[in-house]
Each structure stands twice: as structure tokens, then as C-alpha cells.
């Protein structure tokens, strides 16, 4: 693997690179604020990024694994079925301004979607997407990346890691070939430098994943689950905003003999998630579903892929309407 350098750019770099990329028909996604809601959009006008935004509402996940995507279209005539791949291949995409935790989450999604066989739609997009993440300059009380082996400067999953400067300039740490290609678009504006990154903001550790794993191994059956899940309403908000949650549902939307097969986000908190056609539901109550979510992230996933399925972005905590969120549960376990 080649040696990658760190570069230095002056203010206005973003506009120029975005312009250059769009010239090359590349889809540029950056955080934009609308109705008090920061999200990744292919920002045409590209006004300056939202000031001091904590993170996007939805993680980068949604670029590579859209909330809903067409897998195929079909038409049936008597016995023979014609299949068709729906649309033109995923466009070249550059995501600028996501957070290291989101980028780090991509490695976990990669693990899932390339594990037993390659998930074509995901892999396609992954190959064509460059991730330019912005290192965090400050931490939110709900952040806990450090508790799950991450950090505000985590470079995992990113192609370029950007350390913004107060003057609008930035330090750019290239991490992959894609990253190098991205810097290439900046041309001479990007000068190599030996300057090191600034000190990361402090994110306190809130729990120890090893202790939690150990506890989970012992406590599949426990009143604890009922107690902590009483307030859970069973919506999918936490999973849908989670950078690592990747459960999906396959639906056919059809009219007569023609239809579309779609992959939509799904969530283990839904009662319907495990409901059988018979009406039987192996996870009949919310406590069982909450347990599943925790178990998956901190027991089953580690057992299969050797790392927890959580990057500590804190979205679940911030999003939950009833103050649930993983951290309180995990912290409680940690105390046990």
C-alpha cells in the first residue's frame, strides 16, 4: 500500500473542488441545513457549510444504502418472467463533510455486505463513492465514540480526513487512492505539508464494551430488559439514524403482471420485524426487541466480525423521543 501524504489548502478550497468535481459530472454531497435539519445533499449553489454543525441527521449510510432502492423490475407473461435492472449504475459520488464516526461505520457495513457474498448495489456505490470526512473540533455530551474504540479524529473508513482551520483553510490527510484522486482535483492549491493534526476534543468514556459483552453473554434472560425497555415506544428512529444499523426489508410493489422489487430500511424495534405469517411473533414484546438491538450490536456482531456495531455518534440518544438511547442502557449494564 502506497504512502499517502498530508496536504494544506487555503480558504475557498471547498468551492473550487466541488466546482471541479461537478465539471466532471461527479455527484457532490455536502451537509446542508434546511428547516433546522442538517443533511447530506448534492448542494448545487453550495453556500458555506452550516456553521459548527454537530453531525448530519442521517449518516453516510444513506448514500450507500438508501432508505429505499429498486433492486429489480419484472414483468410476467404466463410462465416466463423478464427481469431488468432498474436504473443506470450509481453515479460517481464524493461525500464532503461527514464525521469520522460515520466514515468508521462504513467499515462495519462493508463487513456485512461483503461477508458471505458481495451485495452488488452496495458494493457498486461503495466503489464509486469517495468519503471526505471532517475531523470533529468539538464533542457533544451525547457523543461516545471513545467508548467504542473510535475518536473524534478516527480515520477509519475515510478516504480523506480534513482538519478544518479557523481561517477557512484546512489540513487534509489523504488515506486512500480515492483520497489521492480527490486531492488531485485541487491541483496546486493543495500543498504537501508535514504539519501534524491539532489535538482532538475530549470525549469521556462512558462504558467498557468488554464488560458489556461479558454481561450480555450471561444475561439473555433478565428482568433488566423489561425495566430498561418500558419507555421504549418501538419506533425505528434510532436504527434509521444509526450509521451501522443495516437491517432491510424486501418488498414487491406491483401492478398486475409488472412490478418493482425494492429494498427498504427495516428495524428490529418494530413488532412486525419478526412477525410470522402465522401471526406468531418470536419477539412478542418490546423488551425482547430492545434486547435484540443491544445484543446484535454488542454481542452477535462482535462475535462474527470482531468489533462492536456502534461508532458512538450519539444519534440514537439525541433522536429518541423518550430519552431512551443506547448509552443509558449500556451505562446501566456497565454498572452491574
Amino acid at each position: 500500500m502506497a504512502e499517502f501524504k498530508t496536504y494544506q489548502v487555503a480558504a475557498g478550497w471547498l468551492e473550487s473542488v466541488a466546482g471541479a468535481l461537478r465539471e466532471a459530472k461527479v455527484d457532490v454531497l455536502v451537509p446542508c441545513e434546511e428547516d433546522g435539519c442538517v443533511d447530506l445533499r448534492s448542494n448545487q449553489g453550495l453556500q458555506a457549510l452550516p456553521q459548527g454543525y454537530l453531525n448530519t441527521v442521517l449518516p453516510v449510510k444513506r448514500v450507500l444504502m438508501p432508505a429505499s432502492e429498486v433492486l429489480l423490475e419484472y414483468e410476467r407473461q404466463s410462465s416466463d418472467i423478464t427481469l431488468a435492472s432498474p436504473q443506470e449504475p450509481a453515479p460517481e459520488t464524493v461525500v464532503i463533510g461527514c464525521r469520522p464516526c460515520d466514515a468508521a461505520a462504513l467499515e462495519m457495513l462493508d463487513a456485512v455486505f461483503e461477508w458471505d457474498y458481495e451485495d452488488v448495489p452496495y458494493a457498486e456505490r461503495r466503489r464509486r463513492t469517495t468519503i471526505v470526512s471532517f475531523a470533529c473540533t468539538e464533542a457533544h455530551p451525547t457523543c461516545f465514540c471513545t467508548s467504542v474504540g473510535g475518536s473524534p479524529h478516527n480515520s477509519a473508513g475515510s478516504d480523506v480526513l480534513v482538519y478544518s482551520k479557523s481561517d477557512g483553510g484546512a489540513l487534509m490527510q489523504v488515506l486512500t487512492e480515492k483520497g489521492a484522486a480527490f486531492i488531485g482535483k485541487l491541483g496546486p492549491a493543495a500543498e504537501p505539508t508535514d504539519a501534524g493534526p491539532p489535538a482532538p476534543p475530549d470525549v469521556p468514556e462512558k462504558f467498557d464494551t468488554k464488560k458489556i459483552k461479558a454481561w450480555l453473554d450471561e444475561n439473555f434472560e433478565s428482568d433488566f430488559w423489561v425495566d430498561v425497555s418500558l419507555r421504549c415506544l418501538g419506533c425505528g428512529a434510532c436504527s434509521y439514524v444509526c450509521p451501522t444499523c443495516h437491517c432491510f426489508d424486501i418488498v414487491d410493489e406491483s401492478i398486475w403482471n409488472r412490478g418493482q422489487r425494492r429494498r427498504n430500511w427495516d428495524c428490529c424495534s418494530f413488532a412486525l420485524f419478526t412477525k410470522h405469517a402465522s401471526g406468531h411473533n418470536p419477539r412478542p414484546v418490546q423488551s425482547a426487541r430492545c434486547r435484540q438491538r443491544v445484543m446484535h450490536k454488542f454481542k452477535y456482531f462482535p462475535e462474527r466480525f470482531g468489533r462492536v456495531a456502534c461508532v458512538g455518534c450519539g444519534r440514537c440518544v439525541r433522536t429518541c423521543g423518550v430519552g431512551q438511547g443506547l448509552v443509558s442502557i449500556l451505562a446501566a449494564m456497565d454498572k452491574k
Partner: protein, 155 residues
């Protein structure tokens, strides 16, 4: 499906598609009477017979739009004449609520019609259909609504 399309197209190409839900006792009989009385009306209306206008769920109307209807009509007995005494009163409340919500969302409420046509009003039926077909034609295809569409499947 394309075969039907051609059938409904005249020289000018596009023809409005109107889905009509008719109560069995009044409007359906009224439409039948229009037939036996030889009242003419446009062929753009596709009739679905229901026991009562009170059987028409707002979802039926919505689904018709999703499936590409340019206009939806629900027709029942005149107030006071419902075969089931109150079905059309319930229909009136629920379906007008739908229309109000459509309008609030900016979904053209003119696309959704209701009428009271009795079993004896064959002429009114044909008049209503002529009127709303003209309106549907002047409104043009209901493109603003996200209908169910597929790219042509490649063979």
C-alpha cells in the same frame, strides 16, 4: 394494459381516466337507467360497484390516484334516501375530509368528485359524467400526483 389504453385514446391522444365508485342502490341503478333510457355519456368513466357510498374508504380514492386515475368520483343516494339509512352521511363526512386534506397538501381537490344520483336520475348521471369528463379533460393528466410508474422492462 396497453390494449385498453389504445381503446380509450382518440385522435387527440390522451383521454382522462375517471374511476367512479357507485352505490348499488341509487347511483349504480341510475347509471343503469341512463343506459336503458339511452342517455349518452363519455366512456371515460370506469365504474366500480359498491354496496353503499359508505363502503368507500378514502384509501380507495387514494389508490385510484396512485394507479393513474385522473379523476375519482364517488356517487351515492341523496341524503335521506340511503338504502342503509345513514351510509351516505358517513361517506359525506369521511370523503369530504379526504378532499379537504388533499387540498391542504396541495393535491388538486378538483380531481375528487362526489355526487348524489338516485336510481331514477339516469339523466342526471349522464349530465354529471359529461360535466366531470369535460373538467377532467380541461385539467389534463394528473401528473403532479406520484403515480405508480415503471420504466419499460428491457426484454
Amino acid at each position: 394494459m396497453s390494449s385498453y389504453k389504445q381503446a380509450s385514446e382518440d385522435a387527440s391522444g390522451w383521454q382522462p381516466r375517471i374511476v367512479a365508485f357507485l352505490c348499488n342502490w341509487c347511483s349504480y341503478a341510475g347509471a343503469d337507467l341512463a343506459g336503458v333510457s339511452r342517455f349518452e355519456y363519455p366512456t371515460n368513466v370506469r365504474i366500480i360497484r359498491v354496496p353503499c357510498s359508505g363502503r368507500v374508504d378514502p384509501m380507495f380514492v387514494l389508490k385510484s390516484f396512485e394507479r393513474g386515475a385522473d379523476m375519482v368520483l364517488v356517487s351515492g343516494c341523496h341524503p335521506g334516501d340511503c338504502h342503509y339509512t345513514t351510509g351516505n352521511y358517513h361517506a359525506r363526512r369521511k370523503l369530504l375530509a379526504l378532499r379537504e386534506m388533499m387540498s391542504f397538501l396541495g393535491i388538486d381537490p378538483r380531481r375528487f368528485k362526489m355526487s348524489w344520483v338516485s336510481a331514477a336520475e339516469g339523466s342526471k348521471w349522464s349530465a354529471v359524467i359529461r360535466q366531470i369528463t369535460d373538467e377532467a379533460r380541461s385539467l389534463g393528466p394528473f401528473e403532479s400526483f406520484p403515480t405508480f410508474t415503471l420504466q419499460e422492462v428491457k426484454k
